[in-house]
Symmetry: C2
Amino acid sequence: MNRKSVAVDMDNVIADIETNWIASYNAEFGANVTSEDLIGKPENDAFPDPIAAKTLIYKPGFFRNAPVIEGAQEALRKLQEHFDIYIVSAAMEFPNSLAEKYDWLAEHFPFIHWKNIVFCGDKSVIATDYLIDDHLKNLDFCKGMPILFTAGHNVNVKKYRRVNSWSEVLELFEGELANS
Amino acid sequence: MNRKSVAVDMDNVIADIETNWIASYNAEFGANVTSEDLIGKPENDAFPDPIAAKTLIYKPGFFRNAPVIEGAQEALRKLQEHFDIYIVSAAMEFPNSLAEKYDWLAEHFPFIHWKNIVFCGDKSVIATDYLIDDHLKNLDFCKGMPILFTAGHNVNVKKYRRVNSWSEVLELFEGELANS
């Protein structure tokens, strides 16, 4: 049987951009934003000064220094035994992120081959059997099974199979393997 | 009717990497290689010293300074009237090329939106209705109709519909529109 393919988003799925963003915002503007403050709000509206928050994304190091989301490394190593894993990031919106994201992956996910990395704009041309992502703008147009990875901004979304952590991703795929 | 999508490779399809490579090789090693010398040879074997030739790809500016392939700009503008055009480059093999390719596209193809740019490794996860490419390694696994764009290294390939220039691409797609 052919191995099935899984596309995995980067920001807020394997790379903890939110933690980085909050720390950077608080340091830059002397604020006290916490991750709880962002819950249920669209990303572009979440910070007290959304325009100032957006400027931070363009600063060198914003993507390069993000922590890894808990459990992502171990889970992707395990999933790789049975699935073709592709990292698919809508990096093209922030061209400064291209090199940083490549280097970040090389450091934290050295077991992902460059052939399996995709930096794109619109993910609707990506054809994998599954897409794990935190954004409806990607999941709504994906060709495979959409899987919603919980992030502060999407807690009120009622569409799609939701996973709250990488251990829940592993459970879901164990089920998929058992049913295939 | 839904617009159909066309993936377009960069190197040797819209960006004249070969001309750049030959000039760079001759300047660096005092050689007299011409484009005729490369005809019918695999890219990795085409230069007198293939290993030395490969080192040139990693030099800053190699991708940024490539000329545009004749007719590519006008043809993609025209095709955009009827098709969704995606630039899909296997840039991940040369991470130094990511920023250079982005900037090159912004200069020469400003009418291509960032949402329509994909930098990847393996193109087998790209699902467009057509793929215009000079490499069998991409065309062999594409999900849509493969179109072989002539380059020195592929002149002996007998597979797939071949186009020798951007005016031949336009002719082909006029036929596709008429038949759809």
